[in-house]
Symmetry: C2
Subunit: 80 residues, 2 copies
């Protein structure tokens, strides 16, 4: 199954990269932007046909490698 996960910075963590993108957008004429925050997206194809088990495996990967839980959150957004 293909499991999609997004990893975002926690709410109170500064996102300088997002800030730069916001400034660039502003310079291009997109004036009405309150905030831009950037995150990571992973699409992981695991050899597991049970959606719940596949989700568990990817959550495990996020906990152990993909996300830095001190400053980041992860969310599984799709399993197919």
């Amino acid at each position: 199954m293909k499991v999609s996960a997004i990893i975002t910075l926690k709410k109170d963590v500064l996102d300088p990269q997002g800030k730069v993108i916001q400034q660039t957008l502003d310079g291009m004429g997109f004036k009405d932007v309150n905030e831009v925050r950037q995150g990571k997206y992973f699409e992981i194809d695991v050899k597991e046909n049970d959606p719940k088990k596949a989700q568990k495996i990817v959550e495990d990967m996020c906990n152990k490698l993909l996300a830095n839980l001190v400053i980041e959150n992860y969310k599984i957004i799709e399993i197919q």
Copy 2:
């Protein structure tokens, strides 16, 4: 409104970063992984209360700045 977009490499474009993550996962004991592909995630808060208009604005941003349409696709996944 907050619009969430993901940007992924097109299907036929190699993803060396995803490959490295897959190898690392393999080394950590996650043996049953067919493929890992990495992408970007953006959460953009625009001053626009109409969901359709907000989506249009962010699609415009993706076309002009956030995505490289030669090798990447973008998808709006959430508007709230």
